[in-house]
């Protein structure tokens, strides 16, 4: 032991043995830094489930598959089709070690690491081209393309925000996925293989030749799609390879019967040679049908995600409000798009802090502010920036607005970033975001005060009393920036509750309360939108006459937006009221029975449930007493609860039918109209179903008379998974008539 300065080594074996000898078996000596994490990471030698080198009697360390043996075209198709299944499993979040790196051909191609492309081959001996088994050439070219695809995808995902292991495993176990090889060279190999297949089509038969050709073509297109995706313009040309893949994929699926499986070309033993302490784990086996379905969805999503780039009219300045709809509807698809697609969405939106490849964050924020609270406002006038005199009000406006943008930009973008994550993460992330928006709102209010001094804003009595005499009523200001922040915060809070329904977080007896809370939030939002509309109207009236055509248009656009927003809030609260009343009635009637819960109280559970909202000052979390009284409505008869539910459902339905008739533009869903409309019609169906439930319960209650409960009513209520319902945010119970004598 030399070299380490100042360190003197001596043998402690004896001392250690003596000290250890005083311990009992199982006694643990640990310092404070030995955490659960370390204990989980430890492994036991010679336990086959933990020790990667531990072999069963007679087991060989490595697989003994011969990669040089000749392959039939059917076998190559079989291997490729098996690789599709593994590739998809990797996209879904399983590690390479249990998917693509179980393939012997790929393993030999990558290990030892090839330094020149010629060596990126499962047969390393140099064989003259014309002497090679053409099927080897085809399989090699395919694998080259596949591995290079994986490298690009892995690299892209790592670059964006995702959760390792949860969404995706980027670990390559020190295998290089052809990192350093040029894409063009690999493309050339694939093209050469395609030509080769074409040239031997008479020998192997047209059908097999075509089947091989489709598979190679898919790889070419996939690489092309990936290559193009770094550009963020011209969505039409970007979508070409995706469209091509979608078409070729059908041909591949239809020719799957030509494949001859070669299971021995896949082995878990390869994992022993990977840089991992994990003992071999089983190969993840997706079925051909699942694989087909998921690839098909991948290609469709790949085409659709490009639509986010597809705004034709940069004059329309609706960018993120529209993209909000796009991202929301895109991400609420079931199943959710794969992480790679979500990564593309993120990079299209945010890469290099340039939104959609064209717009600055300022541009986007100002668009949003203009739409929601500041149409045609001098606050947003770019000319303010040109004023150099520090005492000029416009100079101050520019300065204050810039402060606000700096304050809000990150929080604003974080919302969109959050919505690119998996559904569970979206909810968890939003729980943190609302804390952030709480402070954005406070800071915005401060800036609002400074801005109104600059323009000498006159206060108004709000809500308007209608009286001439407004003495004794404190007039208020428009407070645009804090109103804007508050609107976002309220929407985030609603989303958290709604995602709670979607993810089946709430117990059946919590539904009445959570829908009441959702309704409460939506009413806050509606009131806020009213307030914003009021002050916008005032300003529009003041500026009437002096306004340019563009300013007029901005006011009209904002008016549309606010109209749509207040409509949306109203539908939400009506539907939520209906659900709350319905579930309250079901609880009262003993059709939903809470569990005994000996260790808990209603109030403690309220604390747990409302924890994300507990620190929010505005709107303040209702006290437990208010929550309970509003949910139970103890003074209201059950018939009345059901009647109220029925009326709210009618209102909601009327509202939704109006919404469903809105155009792409009116609904701010250009580029995602169909998905958006699907959501609306899903809600309409949920309303209808809830209507049936309410009706059945009302009828039974009438038949059996007041006071009849539970089984005596002859009804059985079930609550399914939200994902299986008509709309994931509206959990409608099933109700079944039963023979109560049974």
């Amino acid at each position: 032991m030399g070299g380490s300065e100042g360190i003197v080594a001596f043998d402690i074996t004896k001392k250690f043995r003596a000290a250890a000898g005083t311990l009992e078996l199982g006694e643990l000596v640990k310092d404070d830094f030995f955490s659960l994490f370390e204990s989980v990471g430890a492994l036991e030698i010679m336990d086959p489930k933990m020790d990667s080198g531990c072999l069963a009697p007679g087991e060989s360390l490595d697989e003994d598959y011969d990669v040089t043996r000749p392959l039939s075209p059917g076998e190559v198709i079989g291997i490729i089709d098996q690789l599709f299944c593994l590739e998809m499993a990797w996209y879904q979040g399983y590690p390479l070690s249990q998917t693509l790196l179980t393939n012997v051909y790929i393993d030999r191609m990558l290990e030892p690491e090839p330094l020149i492309l010629q060596d990126a081959d499962f047969i390393r001996e140099r064989i003259a081209k014309e002497q090679r088994d053409p099927m080897h050439v085809v399989l090699r070219a395919y694998c080259l393309g596949l591995v290079k695809c994986c490298w690009y995808i892995n690299d892209r995902i790592k670059f964006e925000h995702y959760y390792e292991e949860e969404d995706f495993v980027t670990n390559t176990y020190h295998r290089s996925l052809l990192d350093s090889f040029d894409l063009n060279d690999i493309n050339d190999e694939i093209m050469a293989a395609r030509r080769l297949v074409h040239s031997i089509r008479h020998r192997i038969g047209n059908e097999l030749a075509q089947a091989l050709g489709f598979r190679l073509e898919l790889r070419t297109a996939f690489l092309r799609a990936i290559e193009l995706s770094v550009m963020r313009s011209n969505p039409e040309s970007l979508s070409l390879p995706w469209t091509q893949m979608k078409a070729v994929w059908e041909m591949i699926y239809q020719s799957r019967h030509l494949g001859q499986p070669v299971p021995e070309a896949f082995s878990t033993k390869i994992q022993r040679r990977l840089a991992s302490t994990m003992p071999p784990r089983p190969i993840v086996k997706l079925s051909t049908e699942e694989t087909y379905k998921h690839f098909k969805k991948l290609f469709v999503d790949g085409i659709n995600v490009l639509n986010v780039l597809n705004y034709h009219d940069s004059q329309s300045l609706l960018v993120l409000t529209y993209h909000q709809n796009f991202v929301m509807t895109f991400q609420s698809q079931k199943p959710q798009p794969l992480v790679y697609i979500r990564t593309l969405l993120q990079s299209f939106l945010f890469k290099d802090m340039i939104i959609l490849g064209k717009l600055s964050i300022r541009h986007v924020l100002d668009d949003d502010l203009s739409l929601v609270v500041l149409p045609a406002s001098k606050f947003l006038d770019p000319a303010n920036d040109l004023v150099e005199a520090p005492h000029h009000p416009r100079y101050a406006l520019a300065h204050q607005m810039e402060l606000f943008r700096q304050r809000a930009a990150q929080s604003y973008l974080d919302i969109f970033r959050a919505f690119c994550q998996n559904r569970c993460r979206i909810r968890r992330t939003l729980c943190h975001s609302i804390q952030d928006w709480e402070t954005v709102q406070v800071d915005a209010e401060e800036i609002d005060q400074l801005l109104r001094l600059q323009i000498d804003e006159k206060p108004h009595v709000y809500p308007p009393t209608g009286d001439e005499d407004t003495s004794g009523v404190e007039p208020t200001y428009s407070l645009p920036l804090s109103s804007w922040a508050y609107l976002y915060k309220l929407r985030l809070m609603e989303w958290i509750v709604q995602l709670g329904f979607e993810l089946d977080i709430y117990a059946p007896d919590e539904l009445a309360g959570m829908y009441w809370y959702l309704s409460d939030l939506a009413r806050h939002r509606a009131r806020l939108v009213d307030r914003i509309s009021y002050f916008t109207k005032l300003r529009a009236a003041e500026e009437k006459g002096g306004a340019t055509a563009a300013q007029e248009a901005a006011f009209i656009r904002s008016k549309h937006y606010l109209y749509q927003a207040s409509f949306d809030a109203a539908i939400t609260w009506e539907m939520a009221d209906a659900m709350s009343n319905m579930y309250a009635a079901l609880g009262r009637l003993g059709l939903i029975v809470p569990p005994p819960r000996p260790y808990s109280t209603d109030e403690l559970r309220y604390d747990v449930r409302m924890k994300p909202f507990g620190t929010i000052g505005l709107p303040e979390l209702p006290s437990w007493e208010v929550y309970r009284a509003s949910t139970d409505r103890a003074q209201v008869e059950t018939e009345k609860l059901l009647e109220d539910a029925r009326l709210s459902l009618e209102q909601a339905q009327r509202g939704l039918e109006v919404v469903a008739r809105m155009s792409e533009k009116e609904s701010f869903s250009v580029g995602c109209y169909e998905r958006w409309l699907g959501g609306v019609t899903g809600q309409i169906r949920a309303v209808e179903k809830a209507g049936v439930v309410v009706e059945v319960v009302m009828r039974k209650l009438e038949e059996k008379g007041e006071g009849t409960k539970g089984k005596e009513l002859g009804l059985k209520v079930g609550i399914g998974k939200a994902a299986e319902g008509e709309h994931e945010w509206w959990v409608v119970p099933t109700v079944e008539e039963i023979d109560q004598r049974a």
């Binding site: 659960l36 569990p595 747990v608």
Partner: protein, 190 residues
């Protein structure tokens, strides 16, 4: 274990004991075997010792008095949860297993109750755990006792299944304790 012979046994015949270090030789192998049965990835001996050595008093065993064999086990920990301000004393149910032939007799419920009682006696603020979303019996068991699902954890387990975080609050939340809303970062059981 024969499927039928144990079936009619009432759980009240079982003996419930708190784990102690002296029981290691007798019961640790059985505990490991019982828990590993439902796991694709076994825990190393160190994981068991990590819990049992520090929180043996929060581990309970259900024993068949006839042959002293192990029927069920619960393993927990209880420590200050740091990301809270002020920190909370958080109980965590790490492992729970019952021989399949004894299931449906409330053995698991009894074990969980004993563990919670013990944590309560030690002033715990809350008890948390994760369970696979497909494990309906486990969720029902905990929810009957008063646990709520606080969040869903995407693809939490190695088999690709998601989990729910379940929470049982034993004491009111300090309203000023700020922003660890999330009863946060999942402990690292996988």
């Amino acid at each position: 274990m024969e499927q039928t012979s144990h079936h009619d046994r009432l759980p009240r015949e079982l003996k419930y004991i708190q784990y102690e270090h002296r029981l290691e030789t007798q019961y640790l192998p059985a505990i490991r075997a019982l828990i590993s049965k439902d796991l694709s990835e076994p825990y190393s001996i160190y994981v068991y010792r990590y819990f049992l050595y520090q929180w043996g008093h929060l581990c309970y065993l259900a024993i068949d008095p006839n042959d002293s064999s192990l029927v069920g086990v619960i393993i927990c920990k209880l420590e200050a949860h740091a990301s809270h301000s002020p920190p909370t004393l958080r109980g965590y149910i790490a492992m729970l297993a019952v021989q399949s032939t004894y299931r449906g007799h409330g053995v698991a419920t009894t074990l969980v109750k004993m563990a919670i009682d013990s944590m309560k006696a030690r002033n715990a603020d809350e008890v948390v755990l994760e369970t696979e979303e497909t494990n309906i019996p486990a969720m029902r068991l905990y929810e009957r006792l008063g646990f709520l699902r606080s969040k869903k954890l995407h693809r939490y387990y190695l088999n690709g299944n998601s989990a729910y975080r379940l929470v049982l609050l034993l004491k009111p939340v300090d309203p000023d304790s700020a922003a660890d809303l999330a009863l946060d970062e999942a402990d690292i059981y996988r």
